[in-house]
Amino acid sequence: MAAPMVRCGILLARKVLLPQHSLAGKRCLLSAAYVDSHKWETREKEECHLADLASLMDKTYERKLPVSSLTISRFVDNISSREEVDHAEYYLYKFRHSPNCWYLRDWTIHTWIRQCLKYGAQDKALYTLVNKVQYGIFPDNFTFNLLMDYFIKTENYKNALAVVFEVMMQEAFEAPSTQLLSLYVLYHCLAKKTDLTWEEERNFGASLLLPGLKQKNSVGLSSQLYGYTLLGKVELQQGLRAVYHNMPLLWQPGYLDRALQVMEKVVSAPEDGKLCKEALEVLDRALKVLTAPAPASSEEQPQEGEDSQGSGNLAEQSDMEESEQSRLPQYLERFKALHSKLQALGKVESGNLLTLTTQLVKEQLPTCEAEDIAAYEQKLQRWHLERVHLIQREQEQREKAKQEHQARRGAKASA
């Protein structure tokens, strides 16, 4: 009787030990120095009681007066448990719907994401990020990197993908570290999933395009090609408006044309940029899929034209789609010619996109990280100075208000 219990105990103990080993062996993209929260923990913050701040904010909102950004930043600074994360979320929502919504500070947003990750509320962080219109959470690239790395470490690629889509919506692909991390996440997810809905294709296309435009190497060029292909596919199947509505993309038609222009640029460029075989195959498949069911799609289009209100707007759109459809055979020919030229010049990279990206990440990430960490330290200093300035201004205003109040009381007493 005792032996099985002991065995269970040993198994349980082993199970408890295993997670530690598995985390240590997991793929960590960002180095420990980057993710280290020591500098952030040791920053100077004001010790305030959360209940006092909460009651102050409630009173201010009742009197319909604006709440200062210092109050909300103090609240988020002093979070110390999971429930307080929920309270802070409520107050962030209220601040966003108050007259001072523009003034939500960068350090408040950074602190909010850090606190969520510290207290295990990463889903909450993601939820506030996705509903950024309601909460006003617009992190900078360092915070985005932290959040993405956390999700990559915990193998939660679905959430990491959601973060990448948010970066794309905000067009925040400035830092090379963000670009590399997001390309890694995107190719990882694309390798797993094959059939995507048109919204996912559009999001993937845009998120591959924007960092691809910044990276000047074969991974960047292949990402541009892949992105343009997916967007061109959505354009021809769902219409141009479906591509650019609520997305940071241009409203000019011809995304497949731009994909072919990328190929032409690589062919004619003297540098060493290569295009991946995988991306070229995707373009080939997309063109074939779009040219194959030609009678079916042309039957659908006149039907759509009748259903619509027959206004000039939609007639123009169907004109554009029909012109794109008619150019598809030309695109196919151009693609075949360019493909053979690329192969002749030896500019076709036969490696897998994911392996290439991982290699690039390993090579370039340390240098980018060092730059980012230096920039972050400078930012911390700047935030500290701004905070001190704001606190000073608040104190001056309070003293002035007190003096005015006393003067008024004195005048009333004497009168």
């Binding site: 966003r96 719907h97 108050s98 007259p99 919504c101 523009w102 950024k132 219109v133 309601q134 617009f138 919506m169 905000q170 067009e171 925040a172 924007l210 435009l213 408006r241 650019y244 509505h245 609520n246 940071p248 993309l249 241009l250 409203w251 209100q309 206004s311 000039g312 707007n313 939609l314």
Partner: protein, 218 residues
């Protein structure tokens, strides 16, 4: 005829002030005035239907603050265009945002006011002013990676003749007039051909001037 002395009506004055304060406090916000029912395309506040030419645009495009609510700092420094300008003019026409004041009573922060610097058909103004027709469903955001290509504009040089000599009879008459008045200047009288600049029909007008022209309520 001396008028009888009017005693000051203090309560009426107080009532007037209270009424003004209440009007200020309960004024309809942008989100109420410009809210729209997308099924019947009527504005619930004024019970009016939108003009027929706007129906297609209302369904497919978005208001300016709807686009800006999704951007950090409400899209300061970004470029925004209007679809009607894109369809009407070839040259780049856009606003570069300098200040945004969203209406905080709106649920999705998609109403409000914005200020910016206008570039219409390639010519940039020098000062920021309030953006007109912010509540129209007509706005598009220019993506950051397309900004350069969008704003590239090569101005076509106008080679119009500025001024031209007068016909001979008129010239003789002007010179005779000059002689009669004792004016001994010998410069050639020139006829000015510069046209008064007429803006295109969709050039944004000044919002401040529009508001002042309403007049004081009695």
């Amino acid at each position: 005829m001396a008028r009888k002395k009017v005693r000051p009506r203090l309560i009426a004055e107080l009532a007037r002030r209270v009424r003004a304060l209440r009007e200020q406090r309960e004024r309809p916000r942008d989100s109420q005035r410009y809210s729209l029912d997308y099924e019947t395309l009527t504005r619930p506040y004024s019970e009016r239907r939108l003009p027929a030419r706007a129906w297609a645009d209302v369904r497919s495009e978005s208001r300016l603050l709807q686009l800006l609510g999704r951007l950090p700092f409400f899209g300061l420094g970004r470029l925004v265009t209007r679809k009607s300008w894109l369809w009407q003019h070839d040259e780049p026409c856009y606003w570069r945002l300098t200040r945004v004041r969203p209406d905080y009573t709106a649920q999705n922060l998609d109403h409000g006011k914005a200020w910016g610097i206008l570039t219409f058909k390639g010519k940039t103004e020098s000062e920021a002013r309030e953006i007109e027709q912010v509540m129209y469903h007509d706005w598009r955001l220019v993506p950051k990676h397309e900004e350069e290509a969008f704003t590239a504009f090569r101005p076509v040089s106008e080679d119009t003749v500025r001024s031209v000599p007068y016909p001979p009879l008129l010239r003789a008459m002007i010179l005779a007039e000059r002689q009669k008045n004792g004016d001994t200047s010998t410069e050639e009288p020139m006829l000015n051909l510069e046209r008064t600049r007429i803006d295109p029909w969709d050039y944004p007008r000044k919002q401040e001037a529009k508001r002042k022209a309403k007049g004081t309520p009695v």
